[in-house]
């Protein structure tokens, strides 16, 4: 039992990593990447990702209650808010007389937001049943594993918001921007799903409790909705809310989607698109970081 030493020395001796916090995280992530380079073939990673995302989408298909409720929710808003506040379009800054049409791109973003806010539940469920351990002992990278949960949220909210788009169409919300317009709407929805899906997973990995994730997300939901232009045109907003909206990712997404629908104000588009993309990337990185911290805490 003593003659192990003559083997090649380990690249990373466990005893050197006694400092707990960020340092350990850094050195281990290096080790993970080193392993990753030796792993041959990107296609293997893509195949693994497809299998994992497919698995999660199958769950949604088999237990569609939550997914369907998440579509009904914005439709109720469309009907209630759309009728209740149909008069507000007389105020300044509305691109259309039809408030339901104005609301449709906003509600597509809301669907994406609410639909991805609880994406971390899938991961928590897998952790509690021991399935996450099975995945973590499979030869897939941490990135693929984490991204599969986030990508499922992105795909899911795209499909859900498609329903809102169709219903909105009958309410008179027509995408004026042509192919580019559709593209902008879906980019806004998808990035929202990725961003908040990532945040939800990061919270799940950090807090490790369903009720804590639900609590934080519920706390964020309405403030983010009402400090954005989801319900109202920018010029009609009180000035302090308008200032807040400038740093609100939900507002960036709504603005992009609305440019796709109504084809106006490209200055807003170029302000919001990079910000939203950056925000989504940042949240994705946060999820990855939370995952590495989770790995080390085992």
């Amino acid at each position: 039992m003593r003659q192990i030493a003559p083997h090649s020395p380990p690249r990373l001796d466990a005893s050197e990593r006694s400092t707990p916090d960020s340092q350990a995280g850094e050195s281990v992530s290096v080790a993970v990447q080193t392993g990753g380079e030796d792993w041959p073939g990107r296609p293997a990673a893509i195949r693994a990702m497809a299998a994992l995302v497919g698995r999660l989408l199958l769950h949604d298909l088999r237990m569609p209650t939550f997914a369907i409720l998440n579509i009904i929710h914005p439709l109720v808003w469309l009907l209630l808010f759309g009728s209740l506040f149909s008069g507000v379009t007389h105020m300044a800054g509305f691109p259309t007389e039809n408030y339901m049409a104005f609301l449709t791109p906003g509600l597509m973003v809301m669907t994406a937001f609410f639909g991805s806010a609880f994406a971390g539940m899938n991961l928590l469920m897998d952790e509690q049943h021991g399935y996450l351990d099975r995945l973590r002992t499979s030869p897939i990278s941490a990135g693929v594993l984490m991204a599969s949960y986030v990508l499922r949220a992105g795909i899911m909210v795209l499909m859900q918001s498609l329903v809102i788009l169709v219903v909105g169409w009958f309410a008179g919300a027509h995408v004026a921007g042509g192919v580019i317009g559709f593209l902008l709407v879906f980019v806004a929805v998808f990035l929202t799903g990725i961003a908040f899906g990532s945040l939800s997973n990061a919270l799940a990995l950090t807090l490790r409790r369903h009720d804590a994730v639900i609590g934080v997300m519920n706390f964020l939901m309405l403030p983010l909705v009402f400090t954005s232009t989801m319900m109202i045109a920018r010029p009609a907003m009180p000035i302090w809310l308008l200032h807040l909206s400038l740093v609100n990712p939900i507002d960036w997404a709504v603005t992009i989607a609305r440019v796709g629908f109504f084809d106006f104000n490209y200055a807003d588009l170029w302000r919001c698109l990079p910000l939203l993309a950056l925000f989504a990337a940042g949240m994705l990185a946060l999820a990855g970081r939370s995952y590495r911290r989770y790995q080390l805490s085992g």
Partner: protein, 328 residues
């Protein structure tokens, strides 16, 4: 000399500042061998397996699995191993077949070879009939067997089984035992098994490591471990507990008696040859005070007791707050 698939050297794991889960664990597992880590809950079995399966990292020490360092070469380690953890690693919202398919994809398998392998494994674990039903409709035993199949899909050289039969009904347990033995004999796979069931360790393992409070206190073949008891155990059951002291004192100093332990109404007498010792024991005590007398060949329970001062059952019961008190 068979290939060494697990080399654990002086593994330590400390949670927080002072909870020492592993206090220097070293052992080897060779190709084609079933190695059983036996010990109560909280002894460090699961921590050891989780370190070797790259699920957690050692605070100190070093481990090579299939020749790769578990800390710096995790991905290669994971390619070589199959892992069946304590929780069910089964996706309950998928069917058995879908579970296996996903796992195959993660292992870089696909197409017809994967489908054939899935059929083969379903056959092996006796789940062919149930394969296309959702796993959440299955019994716990069925899910456990699917778990085993999931760990085997890529024909690993080394399989980690963490308490594979805990919570299983006896029938499922027997079935799993049979499958494991078959596996080790036919495919030459190495198995690292943790358990707190003595019979399981005894029956399945080629070698056993007895683990207690984060240390391996002995490792050998079950037969050699049991030979350490140096004799048989006679268990005398007194009719009344008050008689135990008197009977014990009349046994003390008798020629064949090597060790005496009492336990409620029981007196445990270690002797070289149990059958030969009975007459002289009977002559020394008032036999009408005895309800029964039993001769036991040494089992791992006696081994465990001798090494740690507690029976495994007692260690289980106190595993939340380990104490130094010897029970006998």
């Amino acid at each position: 000399m068979p290939e060494t698939l697990v080399e654990a050297q002086d593994l330590r794991k400390v949670y927080g500042e002072k909870i020492v889960a592993l206090d220097g664990v070293s052992f080897h597992v060779h190709a084609g061998e079933i190695y059983g880590l036996l010990g109560p809950n909280g002894a460090g079995k699961t921590t050891t397996v989780r370190i070797l399966a790259t699920l957690t990292q050692p605070t100190a020490g070093r481990a090579l699995v299939a020749g790769f360092n578990v800390v710096s070469d995790g991905l290669k380690v994971r390619q070589a191993i199959g892992y069946v953890g304590q929780g069910t690693g089964v996706d309950q919202h998928l069917t058995g077949r879908e579970n296996l398919w996903v796992q195959g994809q993660l292992r870089g398998m696909g197409g017809r070879p994967l489908r054939r392998r899935i059929d083969e494994l379903l056959e092996l674990v006796g789940l062919t009939e149930a394969a296309d039903r959702l796993a959440r409709e299955w019994s716990g035993g069925m899910r456990r067997r699917l778990d085993l199949a999931l760990g085997l899909i890529h024909r690993p050289r080394l399989l980690f089984l963490d308490e594979p039969t805990t919570g299983l009904d006896p029938e499922s347990r027997m079935m799993l035992h049979r499958q494991l033995r078959l596996l080790a004999e036919e495919s030459g796979i190495a198995v690292l098994l943790t358990t707190h069931y003595l019979e399981e360790a005894d029956r399945l393992s080629h070698r056993i490591g007895i683990i207690d409070r984060g240390r391996i206190v002995a490792q050998d073949t079950p037969a050699n471990l049991k030979a350490r008891i140096h004799g048989d155990v006679l268990i005398l059951t007194c009719k009344q507990e008050e008689d135990v002291a008197a009977l014990t004192s009349s046994l003390r100093g008798l020629e064949p008696v090597r060790e005496l332990q009492t336990h409620g109404r029981l007196i445990l007498v270690t002797v070289a040859d149990g059958a030969a010792a009975i007459p002289s024991l009977m002559a020394a005590v008032e036999s009408d005070r005895l309800a029964r007398i039993e001769l036991r060949k040494p089992t791992l329970d006696e081994v465990y007791l001798k090494l740690t001062g507690r029976t495994l059952a007692e260690a289980e019961a106190t595993s939340d707050a380990p104490t130094q008190e010897a029970a006998a």
